[in-house]
Symmetry: C2
Subunit: 156 residues, 2 copies
Amino acid sequence: MKARLDAIDWHILKELQQDGRMTNVELARRVGISAPPCLRRVRALEEAGLVKGYRTILDEKQLGYDVTAFAMVGLHSQTEADLLGFEKQVAGWKLVRESYMLSGEVDFLLKCVAPDLQTLQNFIISELTAAPNVDSVRTALTIRKTKDLPIVPIDE
Amino acid sequence: MKARLDAIDWHILKELQQDGRMTNVELARRVGISAPPCLRRVRALEEAGLVKGYRTILDEKQLGYDVTAFAMVGLHSQTEADLLGFEKQVAGWKLVRESYMLSGEVDFLLKCVAPDLQTLQNFIISELTAAPNVDSVRTALTIRKTKDLPIVPIDE
DNA sequence: ATTGAAACGACTAGAGA
DNA sequence: TCTCTAGTCGTTTCAAT
């Protein structure tokens, strides 16, 4: 599963992680090779699944989504079937944008985005807390995001 | 601060959020206008800060970062100066990739990525717990990421 | 605001080192 | 592997609406 990459591949990944819309010629220039092999490397990295996709980062506040919160969810039962059942529920909730299954007392961490507090509270009470197998829910509002780096710590 | 967008702008944001590397002509085709005005709209959205950037999503596991964990940090003092002081520390820790200031008993939620458990534990014990003003640290390992959507819930 | 045309530059296949 | 060349296609400016 682990990939074998040379220095140029790492450099490509580092540049793309920081600017996913960089043109191939600019990328090639930065990593010090000509455009055709650079493009082939990018395609190979996509093919291998190391590059999972390209995403535009939007400003959710300016778009009317003022509230971001984390919900820590404990379940009654943690059998694989029940975990999958809960995941399926999560998949259907539009204001849950990210979900992590955790070890420890909290079973799931859900990142929720809503236009306002009211909408968030309605969701927590009417949907999340009311869902089958949900034992406990603790919610924390985010005051601000204080750091937001691409997920892979490639040395810079 | 809120932006006034028409249906085409929303459509552009929706498409770009899902595929940040789409060409402008393809984007224009999808939203139903010709390329030049489409490009000007995208530039305007970038200018207005609604588009904050473009990012490539990498597979951290394949790249040797097997461990993702969340650290919930409580501080002794929550004066603005002390919060800023902690944020500054956080900025310097390379394996903390995202950080959120929260309301409630937990002051900060840190998303950490490390090559292995050992590295994570070293960080938690030697750096995080040892940092000035840090009161309590609770850590939860992620077993799997069960949902990962772009952050703004544009209806699809 | 938009379209359409045109110049410019990037993308990408192919040939050859 | 790479570089170089060349044709195709995308980007971006501008005139006109």
